[in-house]
């Protein structure tokens, strides 16, 4: 099909034809078109169905404020719903589909909702569907959700790439229309670093849409030459197709750059870049957005804003109809009629609601002054309009101008409240713009082009001067002065016919009046009750009109009525752009332990632990279930020797003459007298008395200590220590640094651990039981001079060591130890076996240190010193925290050893109940926090919390798991299941 509505010229390349589809139909447009202009060129007027009533709708605007023409672009996983056709640059192969209709667009089965519209007025959610109550969730809500709505997601992972970027400048200029370019020319001439951003892919703003002359050449030509001049300057960065979507604190601006054309050619390139721009100052030159007038049936396809009609004919060489009429309340509407005429488009009528003399003559058009449009006809496209004087006019395109609203969206992002300006009958920014932001041109309410350009010109120089730059003595561009006169017209009584205010959310003038009638008097309440301005366009074309109707209805002024404000983002931003590259495995950095490569070679199964990947277990040939691997690793470690990578534990190196005093302040137990060459277990509390973390600290020299923390709290404990030092006790001679990643550390556990280590520790270091007893610590060398630290500590309960070497030797040490251990049948073990052995020994870990447990609850009350002040001491002594009927940590073992063995799951998560009590919340006595199968005891065991647990050992209760449907009898016991005397540690 040919482009029936295309004319000659325009800022498009009519030699470059592009092919696209709309609802499956193949259509053609030109390079430089938007999807909207190409659709209009092909006489596609019906492009979608409205949100609530499924009314036929067409394109209304030419920019990002578009409420109607939102579409699904692309197909399959690439499909993006709710895309505005007016800002989508046309490309070869573009697939567009209209949304929100069932069946074909021209015959939407859901259009029946329009007949029920009396039921669906403002607040219908709160009034209807109230009864019967049970129907809401099952019938009403799904039905409403199904019928109302926007586009449909592909529900597949987004195959496109998104990126983030950072830019810095002295002056950010937002908008590249007449005032923006004028500001840029003077600002850039000063040498200041300038970034120029515009949401359009073609810079020039409304100069591209009009016929105004600048410096005696076409405005669009002047804009083009200004852009060329600016792009040749080193201190200027031009960002077209880039929307400044948010103004954040201290000169930080969010900018979304669209790079779709690049990413279509190369899928590895980002489709969008989310820039963070740091600007010392900004100049907002975002222009103005036109508003409609509320008259009966003002939403038919073919009824558009007058400025948009003008842009389509001038910039895109597209006539929006064959018989166009104009309805305006201001001078600017006449310009549309004039431009259409000069392009040879027939203008049938100009209707002006003002009772003044005609602004100009329009050849061939009937002129009606002091007249309004009151109704329209045409189901799927406009056919005729009816005037207040009773006359009917046949027309297929009505250009409406209700006046222009300064585009002050971004000035509101720090709660700036716009103020009413009677002269232009709109809101303008007041002094409460975000710090550092200045406004020029129509965005400020300066409507005449010549004044707007002069304002931009002067502001560019003065902002540069504020920053210490001096602008060159440039002459402001000259343009004929054209006055702008407007008389507010919010609409005319439309009787039964609905007059639309917010097209995207289907809000009518009647809805606004109804809200007032029902007692909603504040503009903020009316907004929320009617949903006016709450759609994805944030009511860019609707809000001022709605407020005008409300003011008129309530008999008050616009000042009294006030306005709602805008918030980021200026226009919708895809979640993918905020995520950037942080998706899937790139969500956060992947950290591997030093033995990772070796473990991979062994076929280890890995598990994410905090930010780390750790070996979970090491399957051997013939093992078909993880339990087989884990049981073997435990049994062999306890029988001979096993090795586990424990690098992920936090390690903090602390030096200074006051470290022991410092440790005394952060641990519950005493550290002042810890001798050199010894290590000690320590428990840290939060100031509120709850357990925060535990670990060991070794004293390597008089003034040198090494602390370990749990893997999960490595970062927060270090932060806490820095707080304690810098904020609470700044004069203590303490210096610390996290060395978690600087040392590879391995646990070597089991009766043969010393025999193994003796083979790699250099002979001058005596590690015999006498020379290096339990809880010994010291610097040694291994494998012929490699520096290492050895700690005789045990998490497994066996004779055990932890050995640390600089990370670069970690892989080599693992291999050396495995080789040395061959004669002892050494086994590597993973986090599961580590967990089994710690539960067998009754050591508390993450599930027990859950932020709600005190030292007393954990059975460590005896460790708490009463002779010193430490973080958490005083509040930990509160009566409530010392009560015995608190949940206390104890062990649990099944009365019948075979329980759960066949089911194959542990007691973890089970709740504890009395023997004959019903499983209700009321009877709940506690829970199992950690549970595993113990190969040493031959049954499942668990750690858990139960009221007064420490005094109830030997008592029987039930462990009930309603999720996995198990209910077994267990005995409350000591948490130390294995070698409770600790004899194995000290051999």
């Amino acid at each position: 099909m040919s482009q029936t509505h295309r004319k000659e010229g325009g800022l498009i390349d009519q030699d470059k034809t592009l092919t696209f589809t709309f609802n499956g139909q193949i259509l053609r447009g030109y390079e430089g078109d938007t999807l909207a202009s190409a659709l209009l060129a092909n006489n596609k007027r019906l492009v979608g169905r409205s949100f609530k009533y499924h009314r036929p709708r067409g394109i209304v605007t030419v920019g990002s404020e578009e409420p109607n023409a939102i579409m699904e672009i692309g197909s399959g996983a690439h499909k993006e719903p709710n895309t505005r056709a007016t800002v989508t640059q046309l490309y070869n192969g573009l697939e567009a589909n209209s949304q929100n209709h069932r069946g074909p667009l021209g015959f939407d089965l859901m259009a029946i909702t329009d007949f029920f519209s009396p039921m669906l007025s403002a607040g219908f959610y709160y009034k209807t569907f109230m009864w019967p109550k049970a129907f809401w969730e099952k019938i009403y809500e799904p039905a409403i959700r199904n019928s109302a709505g926007l586009g449909i997601l592909s529900k597949e992972p987004d195959p496109d790439t998104y990126d983030k970027g950072f830019r810095y400048c002295d002056i950010l200029i937002i908008g590249t229309g007449a005032s923006g370019l004028s500001a840029a020319l003077t600002a850039a001439s000063s040498g200041a670093k300038v970034i120029l951003a515009d949401e359009d892919f073609l810079m020039g703003g409304r100069l591209n849409s009009g016929t105004a002359k600048v410096n005696d050449i076409k405005g669009s030509e002047w804009a083009k030459s200004a852009v060329e001049k600016l792009s040749a300057m080193d201190n200027v960065t031009l960002m077209s197709d880039t929307t400044i979507f948010g103004v954040y604190d201290h000169g930080i601006y969010g900018a979304l750059e669209n790079r779709s054309s690049e990413s279509r050619a190369d899928s590895k390139k980002p489709r969008q870049v989310n820039w963070r721009i740091y600007a010392k100052r900004s100049i907002l030159c975002a222009g103005a957005i036109e508003r409609s007038i509320a008259f009966g049936n003002n939403d038919r396809p073919g009824i558009m804003l007058a400025g948009a009609v003008r842009a389509y004919i001038n910039r895109f060489a597209v006539a929006t109809g064959n018989k166009v009429s104009v309805y305006t309340n201001n001078d600017d509407g006449w310009q549309t009629a004039k431009d259409l005429r000069s392009k040879g488009v027939k203008v049938v009528a100009v209707i002006d609601s003002r009772s003044i003399s005609p602004v100009m003559g329009i050849q061939g058009a009937e002129i009606f002054m002091g007249t309004d449009v009151v109704d329209t006809k045409g189901r799927r496209a406009l056919k005729s309009i009816k005037l207040s004087n009773g006359k009917s006019i046949d027309t297929d395109s009505l250009a409406v101008s209700g006046g222009w609203n300064p585009n002050l969206h971004l000035t509101c992002h720090h709660r700036g409240i716009p103020k009413w300006n009677e002269e232009i009958a709109s809101f303008i920014p007041d002094e409460s713009t975000p710090p550092g932001m200045s406004v020029a041109g129509r965005a400020k309410g300066t409507m005449a082009l010549s004044d707007a350009m002069k304002e931009g010109h002067d502001l560019g120089a003065s902002v540069a001067s504020d920053l210490g730059y001096e602008a060159a003595d440039l002459k402001a561009a000259s343009t004929p002065s054209v006055a702008y006169h407007v008389v507010a017209n919010w609409g005319v009584p439309s009787g039964k016919n609905r007059a639309w205010v917010d097209f995207q959310n289907d809000v009518t003038a009647k809805d606004v009046r109804l809200a007032n009638q029902e007692g909603f008097k504040s503009v903020e309440h009316v907004k929320r009750y009617t949903t006016l301005g709450m759609a994805t366009d944030q009511g860019k074309t609707a809000n001022v009109l709605g407020i005008g109707i409300m003011a008129e209805n309530m008999g008050q002024t616009m000042e009294e009525t006030g306005t709602t404000i805008f918030r980021p983002p200026y226009s919708p931003v895809a979640v993918g752009a905020f995520a950037g590259r942080r998706r899937g495995m790139e969500f956060y950095p992947t950290r591997y332990t030093p033995s990772h490569k070796w473990s991979e070679e062994q076929g280890a199964v890995f598990v994410e632990v905090g930010m780390w990947y750790r070996s979970q277990w090491f399957p051997q040939p013939g093992e078909t279930h993880w339990r087989q691997s884990v049981d073997r690793e435990v049994l062999k470690t306890r029988a001979s020797v096993g090795i586990c990578d424990v690098t992920t534990l936090g390690k903090i190196d602390i030096k200074g003459s006051d470290v022991s005093e410092f440790l005394n302040k952060v641990y519950v137990n005493a550290f002042a007298k810890l001798p050199v060459g010894k290590t000690r277990y320590g428990l840290m509390l939060r100031e509120d008395g709850m357990a925060m973390d535990d670990g060991t600290t070794a004293r390597l020299a008089e003034d040198h200590f090494v602390m370990t923390t749990t893997t999960a709290n490595a970062v927060s404990v270090y932060r806490h220590l820095q707080f304690c030092h810098q904020v609470l006790w700044p004069d203590l001679d303490v210096h610390m640094i996290s060395v978690t990643e600087q040392y590879a550390q391995y646990a070597v556990a089991g009766p043969n651990s010393r025999n193994l280590l003796q083979k790699i520790v250099d002979p001058e270091h005596d590690i015999s039981n006498e020379a290096f007893p339990f809880m010994g610590a010291g610097a040694i060398t291994v494998c012929g001079g490699i520096p290492a630290r050895l700690f005789r500590i045990s998490f497994s309960g066996e004779l055990a060591y932890e050995i640390a070497v600089p990370t670069r030797y970690g892989d080599a040490l693992m291999r050396a130890m495995m080789e040395a251990g061959e004669e002892f049948d050494v086994v590597p073990y993973g986090t599961e076996a580590l967990g089994v052995m710690r539960i067998e020994k009754g050591h508390a870990a993450g599930p027990e240190l859950n932020g709600q447990t005190s030292a007393h609850d954990l059975g460590m009350g005896g460790m708490v010193s009463g002779k010193k002040d430490f973080i958490g001491y005083k509040l930990g002594q509160r009566e409530e925290l010392l009560r015995n009927d608190r949940m206390q940590m104890v062990g649990f073992k099944p009365v019948n050893k075979d329980d759960l063995v066949e089911k194959g799951h542990s007691m973890a998560g089970s709740h504890l109940l009395g023997l004959r009590e019903e499983a209700t919340t009321h009877n709940d006595q506690g829970w199992i926090s950690s549970s595993i199968y113990s190969p040493m005891l031959g049954c499942y065991i668990g750690l858990g919390f139960i009221k007064d647990g420490l005094n109830r050992k030997g008592e029987f209760v039930r462990a009930v798991d309603l999720v996995r449907n198990s209910d077994i009898e267990v005995e409350i016991c000591s948490p130390h299941f294995y070698d409770p005397e600790g004899g194995r540690l000290r051999v």
């Binding site: 954040y248 710090p435 810098q726 609470l728």
Partner: protein
């Protein structure tokens, strides 16, 4: 937000971790007295909810690991002053 670090110059607030009011500097020292329970309770839990200039602790975790005292207006986010917490703490009489 941008925090003007006294040693490192302007840094994005993303690099920092927020803690709370500088009330946390005034940790009671009278722990041996029976009555100090109330002081510690006040210290741990009771805060003014300030609408205006608020002195607060920020930690430069992705930077030099210094704790800072930032004076920030809670209504406008304007930052009027940034100091090293160590200096503030000393000036308030804290030492060892």
């Amino acid at each position: 937000m941008i925090i003007n670090h006294p040693l490192l110059g302007p840094r994005d607030s993303e690099e920092f971790v927020y803690l709370g009011s500088t009330d946390l500097i005034n940790r009671p020292t009278n722990w041996e007295e029976e009555a100090s329970a109330e002081d510690f309770y006040q210290y741990q839990y009771i805060r003014e909810n300030i609408a205006g200039d608020h002195q607060e602790l920020w930690y430069h975790e992705q930077g030099d690991q210094s704790w800072l005292v930032v004076t920030r207006n809670t209504l406008t986010h304007e930052i009027k002053k940034v100091e090293l917490a160590q200096d503030v703490s000393r000036a308030m009489g804290r030492g060892k």
